[in-house]
């Protein structure tokens, strides 16, 4: 069955994982660790006993039906949502209460939102330079050069002086990725980064994310893009009703889902 004699793990030939060079990635030390995390929204128990470890260089894709708690899970990692129980550590440091220490920790965690959330009153360039200038107090010329490089890298270099509203959704989201990368984060969180985009713009954003994954960025991606999960993820987390129901390699998860919930979910989204 194996396509390559030197490859010891059996791999279905239909998968294109080797395309993004994922085979070379060995999970590093634990970077983000969630232990027994619980969270309620009023009566709704939105996260139930979540245990999850994300290693350095790993790309973890979180999927599941809406309302399953996957966005909330993503947002607890930089404490945009406070948790009611359990613990979350980032690179060994426990997430502190709101304050200076939390702000410092957040600056190491890049966040990309479904609705982009670019600063509407700042130009594209200012959006990217603001964090390094105000939070890290880096030198303006260094930051500006890095910002231009990042904007070129995500393919919006020529839009640097425009305002967010003058850009397409796909361009805005790529700027948002550049803004997060400007802080040189240890881990990037993507909260449904393509869900608000027109279909023709989804790929340009996914392409930037694939490049990032290829370069070894640690990523947590909440998405409905199964193609991205197949091609770029090291691990797929399937959530339903506030729990992690299944956790597996993308090959195994998509070809052999173990739980009924996952089978049901996949049958609904993959065959239509």
């Amino acid at each position: 069955m194996t396509t390559d004699a030197s490859d010891t793990t059996p791999k279905p030939p239909v998968l294109t994982k080797s395309e993004v060079g994922k085979d070379a990635v060995h999970p590093g030390a634990p970077l983000v660790v969630l232990e027994n995390v619980n969270k309620h929204f009023g009566a709704l128990h939105v996260l139930q006993d979540i245990d999850l470890t994300i290693h350095k260089g790993e790309v973890v894709v979180v999927i599941g039906p809406s309302g399953s708690g996957k966005s909330t899970l993503c947002r607890t990692i930089n404490r945009l949502e406070a948790i009611d129980g359990g613990r979350i550590t980032i690179d060994g440091a426990l997430l502190p209460q709101e304050g200076r220490e939390l702000a410092r920790l957040r600056s190491d965690v890049g966040m990309v939102f479904q609705s982009f959330n670019l600063f509407a009153h700042k130009t594209v360039l200012q959006n990217v330079t603001l964090g390094p200038l105000k939070v890290r107090r880096e030198k303006a010329d260094v930051v500006t050069r890095r910002a231009h490089e990042l904007l070129d890298r995500v393919g919006v270099g020529s839009q640097a002086d425009k305002y967010p509203a003058q850009l397409s959704g796909g361009q805005q989201q790529r700027v948002a990725i550049a803004r997060a990368l400007a802080m040189e984060p240890k881990v990037m969180l993507f909260d449904e980064p393509t869900s608000a985009l027109d279909p023709e713009m989804i790929n340009e954003v996914l392409e930037v994310m694939r490049d990032l994954a290829r370069e070894g960025m640690t990523m947590v991606v909440v998405t409905h893009e199964m193609g991205f999960a197949r091609s770029a993820a090291n691990r797929v987390i399937f959530m339903a009703d506030g729990r992690i129901v299944e956790e597996n390699t993308p090959e195994e998860f998509f070809s052999n889902p173990r739980s009924d919930r996952a089978r049901d979910f996949l049958s609904k989204i993959l065959h239509h």
Binding site: N78, L80, E98, R100, A103, R104, L105, R106, S107, D108, V109, G110, M111, F113, S115, N117, L118, F119, A120, H121, L130, G131, K134, V135, R136, Y163, A165, Q166, A176, R179, A180, M183
Partner: protein, 215 residues
Amino acid sequence: MLEVIQDNWDLLRHGFVGTLKLTVVCGIVSLLLGTLIAACRVSPVPPLRWFGTAYVNLFRNTPLTLIFFAVALGFPKLRFNLSYFEFAVIALSTYTAAFICEAIRSGINTVPIGQAEAARSLGMSFTQSLSQIVLPQAGRAAVPPIGSLLIAMVRNSAIASAFNVTELMGTSAEMVENGYKSLWVLLWIAVGYLIITLSMSAALAALEKKLAVVR
């Protein structure tokens, strides 16, 4: 009609300058104080929020004349011996700030929550995200109500005349005593107020345009 202004030019000018001074000083103080209290009201620190709410509820719901009396009678008792003008500034500014605070807060509420979340995600402190991201975008929506409040403040400044402050309204009594027809006296005083309030409205309209944020 014209002799009122011809004969009393100096008096009217003094009154006008007095009202203008009250307007500028109280305007600046109440804008700064109002912004500070609005920051308290949206702060993540509960005691600051309580302070902000208590301030607004106290000063917004107390008649301005009562605040003038409290300041003018209370401060000397506490051995704060300031001029009548300074008393008037304190009374009028603390009162106006309570309303300005609420106008700014409603402006803050028009800024999508994602803007502050993105700022926090970059590692910005509460003060940074408020001053860099939220307030600059809140300004536009807050300008029209702030305009109304500042105009109300100019009109409220007339109360200061009862507390020995030279200002426009206070000059009327003197002119009427000197035998001028109160109708014409009050007409010119109204013109004085209109000059101040209308030029303020124009400035605020320009500011509103400048603060426009395209989404």
